[in-house]
């Protein structure tokens, strides 16, 4: 049972999160599939599969490989495109009582801007009709699995600044920028996002990694490298969240390897306002409901009445 005696809520740029458990982009589809297994409306939020302006087929060949306590993926941003999302997937989100975050990727600066404009236009139309729109854009400048765009924008601060500035100008929706652990200086990157008017930063995206098939004498991935996620990256993610949270005043959305309530507490203590959960969905199909319940239990046990008491305490 979920206890009502503890306060797990958080707010980012006016967006309400009933609890800090948000499902991470690319690991939760648009929520429909997991919605058949449990009430995804109990989640703090959902970040949808990363979208690009045009539909994308993603990468060929092996797309996933397990490592010691981690997962390498090379999906390559397969997605239906922004327009198909707005017409086909958003109606499902409309009915959910959870924060709705659209994760936006791109190949070029123009793609990012046009994508953000489409989402903004849809939100405007919905506002006129009194319907719920997306609550927040999460700008993905950090996908390591696509050749153009993605990570190319996420490594160097000046390149990232251009994208953040252009997208900020294109939308008035709350904007989180998702940072890459492969950035040259992630704290500097986060400061740039704050200066450019981002409402939050999300981190971390996957860490660029590799796996070689020694018999075939080649990388198992057609794209050579792939993105590492899961428990293996948690210490790195936690350190980066801590580092960034001390350098910016905007909220930090923390993620990387979370598989338990105590993992969530660690990220909150490091300074995260809410967290995201990715790979754990593949280890436990009811990850969301498990974590929400465990978190309440932990808070009761530890006599934590509100997450605000421990946020950034370390």
């Amino acid at each position: 049972m979920i206890s009502t005696s503890v306060n797990t809520t958080a707010t980012i740029a006016g967006v309400h999160f009933k609890n800090p458990v948000v499902m991470a982009s690319g690991t939760f589809g648009f929520g429909k599939e997991y919605g058949k297994l449990y009430d995804v409306g109990m989640l703090g939020g959902i970040s949808g599969k990363g979208l690009t302006l045009q539909a994308k087929a993603g990468n060929q060949g092996i797309r996933v490989y397990e490592t010691a306590s981690g997962l390498l993926n090379s999906v390559g941003l397969e997605n239906p495109g922004v327009e198909a999302f707005l017409s086909k997937e958003l109606p499902y989100w409309e009915k959910l009582d959870t924060a709705r975050i659209v994760n936006l990727g791109g190949n070029t600066l123009a793609d990012y801007v046009l994508g953000a404009e489409l989402i903004q236009r849809d939100a405007n139309e919905r506002a006129l009709e009194g319907r719920r729109a997306v609550d927040m854009i999460e700008l993905n400048i950090s996908c390591p699995n696509v050749k153009e765009g993605g990570i190319a924008f996420g490594v160097k601060t000046p390149a990232a600044r251009e994208v953040v500035r252009a997208v900020r100008a294109a939308t008035s929706l709350p904007l989180a920028v998702k940072l890459s652990p492969n950035a040259e200086d992630i704290a500097e990157m986060a400061e740039m996002c704050e200066a450019e008017g981002a409402d939050a930063v999300s981190l971390i995206n996957t860490i660029s990694g590799m796996k070689i098939d020694v018999r075939r004498r080649r990388s198992v991935f057609n794209n050579l490298y792939a993105g590492l996620s899961g428990p293996a990256i948690k210490p790195v993610a936690l350190r980066m969240v801590h580092q960034v949270a001390h350098r910016v005043t905007i909220p930090v959305i923390g993620m990387g390897g979370i598989t338990s309530a105590t993992d969530i507490i660690e990220f909150i203590m490091a300074g995260a306002t809410v967290v995201q959960v990715g790979t754990y969905n593949f280890m436990n199909m009811r990850a969301g409901s498990t974590l929400v319940e465990e978190l309440h239990q932990f808070m009761v046990e530890e006599s934590i009445t509100s997450l605000d008491e421990i946020r950034g305490i370390v």
Binding site: T27, G61, V75, P231
Partner: protein, 234 residues
């Protein structure tokens, strides 16, 4: 959590696992299984071999870390099961051939039980297993060890052909299906694919299959596809 009823070794590296509980499913569907905690990270997809009143059965081949753990299970052990998932083979009428290669025979046993007048073709590279279980179910049973089982099948004599086996065999079946279609009586050929999976339910796009009309998901649009729809890459 479910409980292992039995886990019998049938041949070198091949096991027959029976799990207790009310677990339904259609022919060709699969479950995501794990018999461990956090590691290995992912659950393993296994096809339904048989559904009974008291549980569900699987036939699996030990290839790596996960199936190695399955092989060590003994009666009474707990095992986690999610499913059934996937579309499965269609319910069909007419003359049916079931063609299995190696561990690919796993889902065909459940098919044979439901399509009792089918001709069954089972091919193995080294050692045959579980073939006798098929004998009372099949109109005709052909077993081949060391050859190419597809060479024994006249595609023109069937209305529907279900195939499960290694990728080269699936590709070859696709080509034979296309040749038969060009020749007149065209059997509908269905292939059960074995793409790597992470979520198993359509959310992660890790299991993507290239199809003529675009990308599809092996876990929800498949694992069974009409042969003519699939585009093989390597």
């Amino acid at each position: 959590m479910a409980t292992v009823i039995s886990n019998e070794r049938l041949a070198n590296g091949v096991y027959h696992l029976r799990v207790e509980g009310e677990h339904g499913g259609k022919m060709g569907q699969f479950y995501m299984l794990r018999a461990w905690g956090a590691y290995p990270l992912l659950s393993r997809p296994l096809s339904i071999h048989q559904v009974n009143d008291d549980g569900v059965e699987f036939l699996y081949h030990v290839v790596g870390e996960g199936t190695e753990i399955f092989a060590g299970l003994t009666p009474g052990d707990p095992i986690q099961l999610e499913g059934p998932f996937g579309n499965g083979f269609p319910e069909v009428e007419g003359k049916v051939a079931l063609i299995g290669g190696g561990i690919g025979i796993a889902p065909l046993y459940y098919c044979a039980r439901q399509l009792p007048d089918s001709d069954v073709y089972l091919g193995f590279s080294r050692e045959a297993f579980r073939t006798e279980a098929f004998r009372p179910l099949a109109a005709e049973l052909t077993v081949d060890v060391g050859g190419l089982i597809l060479n024994s099948v006249d595609f023109d004599s069937y209305d529907h052909i279900f195939v499960c086996g290694p990728q080269p065999m699936l590709k070859a079946a696709q080509m034979k299906g296309a040749a038969a279609a060009a020749g007149g009586r065209s059997p509908k050929v269905y292939l059960s694919l074995e793409n790597r999976m992470a979520c198993g339910i359509g959310a992660c796009l890790v299991c993507s299959v290239s199809c003529r009309d675009g990308q599809r998901k092996a876990c929800t649009d498949g694992p069974v596809f009409l042969a003519e729809e699939v585009v093989f890459h390597d």
